[in-house]
């Protein structure tokens, strides 16, 4: 299996396929600095800058998620849930608990997987490819807009109290796999919707349990 997932990652290293995975990811927004902008709508660039600053102010964050995956031909959605954790500078842990146990650990240095049978580390040769996957995945989870901006055109709407981000792939090669990614949130990310080009749709709802902010 490991080999298989590995292959998935190599795919994105390819000359052409910048498309990453079917990300079922959470994105946690950080707290607002409340005082300034209140509920008044702000323009796109300002809002993006605000959201970006918020996520950078977070030291660590934990929560749990509920995922609903609609596969085009299947009559019922595939439901799963689990927990996630993010720590600034260290990476993201994403763990599906039911109906199967799967864990993915993303760090700036690479990616590793864990299931019932144990751990796998990526061979060094594939690191560069893993980085691409990790960047998109982590970007969505952590709200690192700078990284996401490399792959997607980001349009923000709403206010910093109730915002929406719409991500559309910048390259045709990525668009061959991902149609759009939509993030909704208030103080933190609350909803993630991924529409794949093949017709599959993933909806993830997040609950943030614990936040540690950077000391200023």
């Amino acid at each position: 299996m490991k080999k298989f997932v590995m292959a998935a990652l190599i795919a994105s290293t390819s000359l052409f396929a910048f498309g990453a995975t079917e990300p079922q990811k959470a994105s946690s927004k950080s707290e607002s600095k409340t005082s300034s902008s209140a509920t008044t709508p702000v323009n796109n660039a300002n809002l993006l800058a605000q959201l970006s600053a918020r996520s950078k102010a977070i030291q660590s964050l934990q929560g749990h998620f509920v995922q609903e995956k609609h596969i085009a031909v299947l009559p019922v959605p595939l439901n799963s849930n689990g927990k996630f954790a993010f720590e600034q500078g260290k990476g993201v842990d994403w763990e599906t608990l039911t109906p199967v146990r799967n864990a993915v650990h993303l760090t700036p240095n690479g990616i590793s997987f864990e299931d019932d049978k144990g751990k796998t580390q990526n061979p060094a040769a594939q690191q560069a490819g893993v980085e691409v996957v990790a960047k998109i995945f982590m970007g969505v989870i952590t709200g690192e807009l700078d990284d996401l901006n490399n792959y997607f055109a980001v349009v923000a709407s709403g206010s910093d109290k109730q915002w929406k981000l719409l991500l559309t792939p910048r390259s045709a090669n990525l668009a061959a796999y991902i149609q759009t990614i939509e993030l909704n949130g208030g103080e933190f990310t609350e909803q993630l919707d991924i529409a794949e080009t093949n017709g599959d749709k993933t909806h993830i709802a997040f609950t943030t349990d614990k936040v540690v902010r950077k000391a200023e």
């Binding site: 299996m1 080999k3 298989f4 997932v5 292959a7 998935a8 990652l9 190599i10 795919a11 994105s12 290293t13 390819s14 000359l15 052409f16 396929a17 910048f18 498309g19 990453a20 995975t21 079917e22 990300p23 079922q24 990811k25 995922q67 995956k69 596969i71 085009a72 031909v73 299947l74 009559p75 019922v76 595939l78 994403w94 599906t96 109906p99 199967v100 799967n102 993915v104 990616i111 997987f113 299931d115 560069a128 490819g129 691409v132 996957v133 995945f137 901006n149 490399n150 792959y151 910048r170 390259s171 045709a172 090669n173 990525l174 061959a176 796999y177 794949e196 093949n198 017709g199 599959d200």
Partner: protein, 779 residues
């Protein structure tokens, strides 16, 4: 030169002379207008060196395929921008791309941007019969339960293979693993629409942003070259700290054009200055200068016109070589002018030189036209160019001679100059004439020494001789090729078969042998990586049918887990075959393939550092598979043509010797021997780095110019006028083409060196053989 009111003791112009002059004027004007029209509308000058080479006599399919490979290098350009920090490199990449795309001659290189969709579309009908080797092994070594379990888990995992096709079409995402296996092992990511290449070499990691563009016209189109070099120059000015690497034929072609233009200017300027200075020094008047330039212009225009009529396009190197023609064309005018002043009128001079000019011109033209018999397009162009030019110069002198009148007041000045100058020769040559044995022995010794050097120097057929690119451009090219792992244009495997299936099986066999080398530096691209053979597809289809969709297959187990009924995808009824690739627009990214009737051909291209090993062995034992090394082939080709031009050269000398013996009887050898000695000396100097094709070609020009000198001595004897004329014409050529030997372009350097040494020797050696017999005791 046209001085109708001058009062000279000449008979009124004969009617024939006027008609003749008018006819010449008509041809001159028509040629001029024609050249001007061609140059402005058709842009007939180009700098593609490959077009100067003979049409390949090897396998036409191989030739076509290698042209196809080359065209991929020709029709686009790649520029890497060093990106220590993508944020600073991004505005540079955007700026450079905008500057390039501002030209209407450049377009977006969009194939790589839609390749993923193209691939998805191409493989869609065949997704249930194509397996990457890893996936095949996984299916073979795992039970249906294990496969179902893993696939079930993947459906929930955040990090899995991209799914190009939906669950209904491809429940196990075989398509995703197939497409992944096609991806080259290049570490390329994307940064805001620009590919970001990560290059790891010797422990150093360096990132580059890639900017590409597609050429809408030939890289040899001078306007396109200007657009590209202009864009890059403006970019460098805007971002003086940006470090960029360039790749693509356009950059080499532009450098070639620039270099050739510079060389032509150098030669043209040197030639002009030398001729103006010498003519003014000797004649102290402007009319002779006009005469010299008029004959040169007429020669050049006629040469250009005939060449354009015959070939349609002219290579810049032909023009550069052709500029040596200016020297030959000047010859006739100079000999004529000197004689005119000695004889008192142009008409008299024409009568006097009639034979010498005819013999000189006809033999010269004959020598050049012999080059036309070689199968070398470049040589053929030069042959026509030079022969037409000589004819033009000859006719100009004949037509305009009657109009050249010598003012009695100035008659003496050139003669005085000639006398003064002749005194030097008078001191040297008679001394040598008196010791014929000593001189003969010295010449024999020098010639033998020369021959020894030539034999020891050997030959040099290296392709480097054809290079016109500066070293930094070549280095940049090499680095881009390495970083992007571009397939090598110079070395690849050629595969021939009688059916598409056979072609794929042969390619598969080669693939297996290459994989068995276990060389991590060895990378190759072959057709069968994109289209497995039918045998393979059949095997994979039945493996899939049995393991995944059979009873009890993995799909059934997976759907039990999912709690939903599901049906196996409908298998394709046909097979993916190479012809399907033709129909897609992916062709350009895949190894080239060619099929005509039952003949199927393809190349397996190589990239990476593994090319240095002995790959010929890999093809051993594989029928219809062989390694092609284009560099070696081209080198051998140069060698073959060096031999054939050498033969033409020998033939020319033999024919000349026979012809001159018939015309001059016992004196014929006096003309041939100095020529042969001069050629030997020139070749000996050149042989230090090995003799190349271009040295031999230059010798043909030595024959032309050297022979004129000998003919004028033979017809007029060795005297003040012929010595002055010969010195003037050789001197101008030596000064002008000596400059070519300083050229950085190997071809031009080799050419210039031969002309320099050959002309110098001809000029100084020929008088040794023309001892004025009747008035010997003149001292």
């Amino acid at each position: 030169m046209n001085q109708p009111e001058s009062t000279l003791p000449n008979s009124p112009l004969a009617r024939a002379n006027v008609v003749y002059a008018l006819a010449w004027l008509l041809v001159f004007c028509v040629s001029g207008v024609f050249c001007l029209w061609q140059v402005t509308t058709n842009k007939p000058f180009h700098s593609n060196l490959l077009e100067l080479l003979p049409h390949d006599e090897r396998n036409p399919a191989l030739h076509e395929l290698s042209l196809l490979m080359a065209s991929r290098f020709e029709d686009k350009l790649l520029i890497l921008i060093k990106s220590d920090n993508p944020e600073t490199a991004l505005p540079q990449a955007k700026d450079l791309q905008a500057r390039l795309l501002a030209s209407e001659r450049l377009g977006i290189n969009n194939i790589s941007q839609t390749i993923q969709q193209e691939l998805i579309k191409l493989y869609r009908p065949f997704s249930q019969q194509l397996l990457s080797s890893e996936r095949r092994e996984w299916l073979q070594t795992h039970s249906a339960e294990e496969i179902a379990e893993q696939s079930y888990r993947d459906l929930f995992s955040p990090v899995t293979l991209p799914r190009p096709y939906g669950f209904a079409e491809d429940p196990f995402n075989l398509g995703g693993s197939w497409l992944t296996s096609l991806a080259p092992r290049l570490k390329m990511q994307e940064y805001q629409g620009f590919p970001l290449v990560v290059d790891e070499r010797n422990g150093v990691t360096q990132s580059w942003l890639l900017v590409t563009a597609k050429l809408n016209s030939s890289p040899f189109d001078v306007s396109t070259q200007k657009d590209v070099t202009g864009a890059v120059q403006a970019f460098r000015k805007q971002w003086p700290n940006a470090e960029i690497l360039t790749s693509g034929m356009i950059f080499h072609a532009a450098a070639g054009t620039q270099q050739a233009t510079k060389e032509i200017n150098t030669v043209g300027l040197g030639s002009s200055i030398a001729i103006i200075a010498l003519v003014l020094l000797v004649f102290r008047r402007f009319t002779p200068l006009v005469a010299v330039f008029l004959s040169m212009t007429a020669a050049y225009l006629l040469a250009l016109t005939v060449c354009l009529l015959v070939f349609g396009r002219i290579h810049i190197i032909t023009l550069a070589f052709g500029s040596t023609l200016l020297g030959v064309a000047g010859d006739y005018a100079i000999h004529f002018l000197v004689t005119s002043h000695a004889q008192g009128s142009g008409l008299a001079a024409r009568r006097h030189l009639k034979h010498a000019m005819a013999i000189g011109a006809l033999t010269g033209m004959g020598a050049y036209l012999l080059q036309f018999t070689t199968p070398f397009p470049g040589l053929q162009q030069m042959a026509i160019f030079c022969a037409a030019g000589i004819f033009g110069a000859w006719m100009t002198v004949l037509a305009l001679a009657p109009f050249y009148r010598v003012n009695p007041a100035s008659t003496n000045s050139p003669i005085l100059a000639a006398d003064k100058f002749f005194r030097i020769a008078e001191k040297v040559y008679p001394t040598l004439w008196r010791k014929p044995r000593w001189v003969g022995a010295s010449l024999v010794v020098i010639t033998v020494l020369g021959l020894v050097v030539i034999v020891r120097g050997g030959v040099n057929d290296s392709v480097i001789n054809l290079n016109t690119s500066p070293i930094n451009l070549l280095n940049s090219e090499r680095r881009v090729q390495e970083i992007l792992q571009q397939p090598s244009v110079s070395q690849f495997f050629f595969i021939e078969a009688n059916s598409p299936e056979q072609l794929l099986q042969k390619t598969q066999a080669l693939n297996t042998k290459l994989a068995a080398l276990h060389d991590p530096d060895m990378r190759w691209q072959s057709l069968q990586q994109y289209v497995p053979s039918r045998v393979q597809q059949e095997a994979d289809r039945s493996l899939i049918a049995q393991k995944l969709y059979g009873e009890p297959g993995a799909l059934k187990l997976l759907c039990q887990k999912l709690g939903t009924p599901c049906a196996a995808p409908v298998p394709a009824t046909n097979w993916l075959n190479p012809a399907d690739l033709d129909a897609s627009s992916l062709g350009e990214l895949l190894p080239p393939m060619l099929h005509k009737g039952d003949d199927w051909r393809t190349l397996v291209t190589l990239s990476g550092n593994g090319q240095s090993r002995n790959l010929a062995e890999v093809a051993n034992g594989l029928e219809g598979v062989r390694l092609v090394n284009q560099t070696d082939d081209l080198s051998q080709l140069l060698g073959r043509y060096r031999s054939s031009v050498s033969l033409v050269l020998l033939l020319t000398i033999v024919l000349l010797a026979i012809g001159l013996t018939i015309r001059y009887r016992r004196h014929g050898w006096r003309m041939v021997v100095p020529l042969v000695v001069a050629m030997t000396l020139a070749l000996a100097i050149a042989a230090i780095d090995g003799i190349t094709l271009f040295h031999i070609m230059a010798l043909l020009l030595i024959i032309g110019i050297g022979l004129d000198t000998a003919v004028f001595y033979t017809e007029g004897g060795f005297n003040a006028e012929s010595w002055l004329a010969s010195s003037l014409s050789c001197g101008t050529s030596i000064i002008a083409f000596g400059l070519l030997s300083l050229s950085a372009v190997p071809v031009l350097h080799q050419f210039g060196l031969i002309i320099l040494v050959g002309m110098l020797s001809c000029w100084l050696l020929t008088p040794l053989f023309f001892r004025p017999l009747p008035e010997l005791p003149r001292i």
